[in-house]
């Protein structure tokens, strides 16, 4: 298995399959994992979070604990970072105490890449700037596979602020690797520069895309950044690119609605659309724990999914 997960591209299709298959074994008794496995007993995982996070940090913490690892949550507030300690010094300080894996969330693109060069622990990217969020992509792939069984020929429409989205980048590369077709939907101001090189279709017309899509994936408008002048108003964005129940009727019967959370209800998605039966947004969250367990298990336990998962 890989040493670090900095980008979804660190995995090949086989590696992704292995993570998804392993995650499925953890969910054999149902989507909520209540059982505890002894696999990572004696291992220490540090959650090094430089940005606020509820679901990702909690998900990693639960995943590590269900595998019996010791988990330390490090958050920037109240730490030496507030006294000006650099990422490098912080990482080396933490490592000196003896840790096996560092899960990092950071507002700077590439911070996990830098970290991986400074420590010998396994580094897992839990979201860096506008770069990548590979475990989000893995749990999204897992969720899609739950419903469709495979990826080949699936049409996935990713809608919204792709330019600033780490979720979009990891999902585009992951979906492409697995054989899905990706269409990016949004105003040109929210598409990444030189998107021609991404190997995807792009359009500003969501209503033309919805009838053909197997999955519509709404991205969060990052309100904490403001609109940055990329759209005139959120009201206009919502009217032209948001998904409401009426627009969702354009979807095929079996199509899924996904969102990485947290949702801005009434901006990229309305409450009635988020609560449609075809919406798998809460499944995504539940699957996140199993997928992160699989990843930690494979990276730190070093065993293959095809071997039997040890059960206590």
């Amino acid at each position: 298995m890989i040493r670090h997960l900095l980008s979804i591209k660190d995995l090949d299709p086989e590696g992704i399959e292995r993570v998804l298959a392993t995650a499925a074994t953890f969910q054999a008794d149902g989507p909520r994992i209540m059982r505890k496995y002894p696999t990572l007993r004696g291992k220490t995982v540090v959650n090094l979070f430089y940005e606020a996070s509820t679901r990702t940090r909690t998900s990693f913490e639960l995943a590590a604990k269900r595998l019996s690892a010791d988990v330390v949550n490090f958050s920037v507030s109240g730490s030496a970072v507030e006294k000006g300690e650099s990422l490098k010094d912080t990482a080396q300080t933490i490592e000196a105490m003896g840790v096996d894996a560092i899960v990092i969330r950071h507002s700077s693109s590439g911070a996990p890449n830098r970290l991986a060069g400074w420590v010998s622990a396994n580094v897992i990217n839990a979201g860096d700037g506008m770069h990548e969020h590979p475990t989000q992509a893995l749990l999204d792939l897992y969720t899609i596979r739950q419903h469709f069984g495979s990826f080949s020929g699936l049409r996935v429409a990713i809608v919204g602020d792709i330019a600033h989205s780490r979720v979009a980048r990891s999902n585009v590369w992951g979906l492409q690797m697995m054989g899905a077709d990706v269409t990016l939907v949004g105003p040109p101001t929210l598409l990444p520069p030189r998107v021609e090189g991404w190997g995807v279709e792009t359009t500003a017309d969501i209503e033309a895309v919805l009838p053909k899509a197997d999955v519509v994936y709404l991205l969060r408008m990052q309100l904490e950044r403001g609109t940055g002048g990329t759209v005139p108003t959120l009201r206009e964005y919502s009217r032209l690119w948001g998904l409401d129940a009426a627009r969702a009727t354009l979807l095929k019967d079996e199509a899924l609605i996904m969102h990485p959370g947290p949702m801005n209800r009434g901006v990229e998605i309305t409450a009635d659309a988020a609560e449609l039966p075809r919406s798998v947004i809460t499944d995504q969250v539940a699957n996140g724990v199993a997928v992160r367990m699989a990843l930690l298990y494979l990276m730190l336990g070093g065993r293959d999914a095809r071997e039997e998962v040890p059960v206590e």
Partner: protein
Amino acid sequence: MSDAVIFRGARVVDPASGRDETADVRVEDGSVTDVGRVSANHAEEFDCAGLILAPGFVDLHAHLREPGREDAETVATGTRAAARGGYTAVCAMANTDPVADSAAIVEQVAALGRAAGLADVYPVGAISVGLQGEQLAELGEMATSGARVNFFSDDGKCVQSAGLMRRALEYARAFDAVIANHAEEGALASGGHMNEGEVSSILGITGIPSEAEEVIVARDLALAKLTGARLHVPHVSTAGTVELIRVAKARGIRVTAEATPHHLSLTDDLVSGYDPVFKVAPPLRTREDVEAVRKGLADGTIDCVATDHAPHPPEDKEREFDLAPCGMLNLETALGVLVTDMVDSGLIDWPRLVEAMSVAPARVRSLTGHGGPVAPGAPANLVVLDPAATWVVDPGLLASKSKNTPFAGRTLKGKVVHTMLRGRFTVREGSDADGQR
């Protein structure tokens, strides 16, 4: 040991006199005394067969960091690096702390250069007070000071106001001074940390489009035409800028331009590992841009090579990419990069290299005594180099206080053997003269 020195049998490349031939050069009392066939005459002799002797290099653009950031570089360490790179004159950029926007600071920097004695240091004055881009600095005070500043720049900061830029160009004419503007339109470049392109798009780093440079260059060329003043375009980084300057020169606009070793050799894909050693302003661009800048230097559209030597201590560069400062070391490696990427590849010949690294930059700043000619009576500001010697760049061996070279581990061709400032060795047989190493 006699004061006199004879460099015997070097290929003398001296565009100022049109000379490119094997000759002996005799130096005594700080000046060149004879060029041609020189007979032995109580002088120390150096066998220079296979070596090239040229006027010492002149750098229009270096950050020596003193006063203010002596942890990164000092005038002494920076000019030590310069001497090792074959330079005899270095222009020290104005973004010091305090800013070189007054006669007192430029005179201090010049004095530090004289005290170090390793290269002539010519301060660059700020265009605006505190580099703030609002109020014109006292260009006249600096021009008429002991430092005799005739070149002004807010380098690192672009003069955003077209009105201020127009006034700076107009006013500088009173002193026949040159205005150099770091071309980067603020709103287009806002939040950017690398070239905007395929690489930045994948890396998730906000980019700076080529157009951020080009719209300012286009504006400044129009203002140079309007005012009849002398404009210098520093660190040309895009194909579009090369084309703008080419057209402007054909129309008779008084513009000169420089290219850096890194914009002549490195591309934005190097940022892929997020190592800020490759972070620089303007950013590393694409292969297409590098080819255009090389062509511009070869055909004279770009007049000269300048280093934009920008030292930063390790703690400032060993950071997240977006939090690290811009800048790269260059003074010691410029010659090697130019020989490896421009001369060896056949894009330019040796006379053009010497012109770009010595004659043309000396002309931009009207420096007498630098840039040749290598002729009797001229100050002996010289470099002797081995065009065939190869070496591997080891950051730990550089003279600079900082180690942020993007060329670490690279094998470069072309190495300085001797550098001489007014007849005194600053580098002698590949080693620091004056016993400092």
